[in-house]
């Protein structure tokens, strides 16, 4: 533990201090003041989206008392009491804090000098609540390491509250404590993931009298109640237009909308909020890049490099600008295993290649493409790279700076958020070159009779009233994904995929497309069963309440390459489980009996 800052140690999906602040924020405690000494700037950065007040204590090396006093100074003067929370009490839950606050409130009217301390099996623990009476005592006492003296002098006023768990005794002092905490938090989070079905109201629906088994997540995911509630709360509490009104609601809506931009930037590791443009979805993000950035610099004979596994949304926009300029599309082939044929890449990276557009994860085969490597190779030839991240963002942690890509596009609705909003990340160096292709309100600086000047990037690309409630929903979806933990989601979907591949390949005549074995594959599986048409398969599955996709999946180039005209596709998300796959396999066997 020596040398490391306890507050910033990771536990499951968050750092220690984030867990602590979130626990307090969910309780009845009114205001949160975080006093940080060591690495105060980092702590501040980690907590920047939370409603805690952060105060630096430059005298932290003189002992804990100096930190307590710095904090007490900042407590509102009308507070009933002061709860001293040591920042490594990570196990305490909001409900336990509420129990303490309830006892405090009910004792205060009898004894204005009450002190509340939790205990477990006779041993007293933390946190302690002092009534406001002690404010001056706390500010003046001289012991360097805490307030034990004040408690001892006022034992008559001390009320011990026996607790049901030892959470009030557990802090993180040693490496062993920390490892124990890591384990407990991972288990707690895994449990959350396994119970995730309950967060999705639509999964309560019955189809043909059977519970809905939703396996079309590559098309769109369902929405958790946290996202749905964020939309209702926006319309009930904050609805108004953004960047316009000088009144409270409009300020709130603006800060929610711009707050979402900030959250998205952090979510994908973008260097600043300004590098995030809100669009209607992945398709619009790619079109925006094609028309606003690429087209003006495209010349006759130039090449646009795509791959054989692209979705139509990452082909057709390029075809459109190519047709207008005389440029040509070139295709990076796929191997028999359904992975990109990297050996052909070097020859395809010709000098007049204007862009490489590639998906991070195939929407048909589930193939996870080696984006970092592709970017590296393309950049060697000074070729910028656009990544279609639609299938990636809800499945794996994305960091655009690590990937090194120049453009990154995705949609909210494939990551548990609402439809109607998507994102285009664009590297700062290209931002000034992006010219608006839609004009209107909100994107201008000044409008004259004959011409206008544009607002700054990214607002110059967001003409008209933007998708405000969708941004709020996207923001809630990011919170939800992070609460569940992307690493765990990835591991969960990997387990499901392995299990499904094992189950499916046992069905006679079933042929799986795409990588089997060692190549990386996300939770998307396309297949055929004998000569049964995918539509017929999907129809039989639907009769059992199982929703899958049948067709060409907007990837006709890939279908031709695979030599089929349609496939059945199942795709997983965090709320799917093994029983979904068992039911799928059963229903597929039924289809086989019906048609063969």
């Amino acid at each position: 533990m020596k040398g490391s800052n306890k507050l910033l140690l990771p536990l499951a999906n968050k750092t220690v201090i984030e867990h602590v602040v979130d626990t307090i924020a969910l309780s009845k405690v009114g205001e949160i003041i975080v006093v940080s000494g060591h690495q105060a700037d980092l702590v501040q950065k980690v907590l920047q989206n939370r409603s805690a007040k952060i105060i630096k204590n430059t005298n932290f090396h003189t002992g804990m008392t100096s930190s307590i006093q710095t904090g007490v100074h900042a407590v509102s003067s009308n507070s009933r009491g002061i709860l001293l929370f040591l920042s490594d009490l990570v196990f305490i839950e909001s409900s336990e804090l509420n129990d303490l606050v309830d006892v405090f409130d009910s004792s205060l009217w009898q004894d204005r000098k009450v002190i509340i301390s939790p205990s477990f099996q006779g041993q007293s623990g933390h946190p302690v609540i002092f009534s406001a009476y002690y404010r001056s005592h706390l500010l003046q006492h001289q012991e360097p390491e805490g307030c034990w003296g004040i408690i001892q002098q006022n034992m008559d006023h001390l009320r011990q509250v026996p607790m049901d768990t030892d959470h009030v005794l557990q802090d993180i002092d040693t490496e062993t404590d920390y490892q124990k905490a890591v384990q407990q938090f991972n288990t707690r989070q895994k449990k959350c993931l396994l119970q995730a079905k309950a967060d999705f109201p639509i999964l309560q629906r019955k189809i043909n009298g059977k519970p809905l088994i939703y396996l079309d997540n590559a098309a769109t995911t369902q929405k958790p109640k946290q996202v749905l509630e964020s939309l209702i709360s926006f319309y009930e509490q904050h609805n108004s237009n953004v960047h316009r009104g000088i009144y409270k609601l409009s300020e709130e809506a603006t800060s929610l909308y711009e707050g979402a931009r900030h959250k998205v930037a952090k979510f994908i590791g973008a260097p600043s909020s300004q590098s995030v443009v809100f669009t209607r979805g992945t398709t619009e993000s790619i079109n925006l890049t094609a028309f606003s950035w690429l087209k003006p610099r495209l010349k006759k004979g130039d090449r646009i490099l795509v791959t054989e596994m692209e979705h139509h949304s990452n082909l057709v926009p390029w075809q459109m600008v190519a047709r207008e300029t005389g440029a040509q599309l070139h295709y990076l082939p796929i191997t028999k295993q359904g992975t990109l044929d990297l050996e052909s890449l070097d020859a395809l990276l010709a000098p007049n290649t204007s862009i490489l557009a590639v998906s991070a994860v195939s929407n048909v085969l589930g193939t996870v493409n080696p984006i970092r490597r592709l970017v590296e190779l393309a950049h060697r030839h000074n070729i910028p790279v656009l990544v279609d991240g639609a299938q990636a963002v809800a499945r794996q942690k994305v960091d655009v700076e690590t990937l090194g890509c120049d453009f990154f596009a995705f949609s909210a609705h494939k990551m548990y958020g609402p439809t109607g909003i998507g994102v285009l990340y664009c590297k700062p160096q290209y931002q000034q070159e992006m010219q608006p292709f839609m004009g209107g309100g909100g994107m201008i600086e000044e409008v004259l009779e004959q011409e206008s000047s544009w607002a700054e990037y990214p607002w110059k690309l967001e003409a008209g009233t933007p998708p405000v409630d969708e941004a709020v929903g996207l923001s809630a979806a990011i919170d939800y994904l992070q609460e569940m933990g992307l690493e765990l989601i990835w591991a969960h979907e990997q387990d499901l995929t392995d299990y499904a591949l094992q189950k499916l390949t046992q069905i006679p005549g079933l042929q799986v497309h795409g990588p089997l074995g060692t190549a990386e594959r996300a939770g998307v599986i396309s297949f055929q069963i004998g000569t049964i048409h995918p539509h017929d398969v999907a129809q039989v599955l639907d009769d059992d309440g199982i929703a899958v996709r049948a067709g060409h999946h907007c990837a006709q180039i890939l279908m031709n390459r695979l030599g089929v005209h349609a496939t059945v596709r199942v795709s997983f998300s965090l709320y799917n489980d093994y029983s979904d796959i068992d039911l799928l396999a059963e229903s597929l066997t039924k289809a086989l009996q019906l048609f063969e």
Binding site: H533, H535, D536, Q539, H552, Q556, H565, L594, F595
Partner: protein, 152 residues
């Protein structure tokens, strides 16, 4: 019968497994093709026409059970029929499948297998699977009229 069995009635499954008139003609007067851009299904027809009348018909193609069964039944029902009669047959066929349509018993005088498609009423998105072969066939009218072949 549950809904799925009602959709895939035995007669439909039989036509799907053993389609009638599957194949090509040696010297067709017309070759027609139509596909469904939504699912990529494709039906190819070889016809021997006499004026507006179908003399011989064969089909090949890729499609779901409903599409193939419909094509198979169509080849049986349209031989020696003229295009007007076939158009009338298609209207009747569509009515059988129409979720809003009146199931008009008076019309059920054709005494044919098309009635087996009534299960589609519950799955309106599948109607186009069944009508694809018919729409492929009826394209022939334009070809004939454009070339003035009807006078032959």
């Amino acid at each position: 019968m549950n809904e799925i069995q009602q959709l895939y009635q035995k007669i439909i499954l039989d036509h799907h497994k053993n389609p009638k008139n599957y194949g090509t003609l040696e010297s067709p007067t017309h070759e027609l093709e139509k596909d469904n851009p939504i699912c990529g299904d494709r039906i190819h027809l070889d016809l021997k026409m006499h004026g507006f009348q179908v003399e011989e018909i064969r089909f090949t193609g890729m499609g779901c059970a409903l599409c193939i069964a419909s094509a198979s039944m169509m080849t049986e029902l349209t031989v020696q029929q003229n295009l007007e009669e076939i158009e009338e047959l298609l209207r009747y066929f569509k009515e059988i499948m129409d979720p809003e349509g009146m199931h008009n018993d008076a019309k059920a005088t054709y005494n044919d297998n098309l009635q087996a498609f009534e299960g589609i009423r519950k799955y309106p998105s599948r109607i186009q699977c069944a009508t694809l072969p018919w729409e492929a066939l009826l394209q022939v009218r334009k070809l004939i009229e454009n070339r003035g072949e009807a006078t032959i």
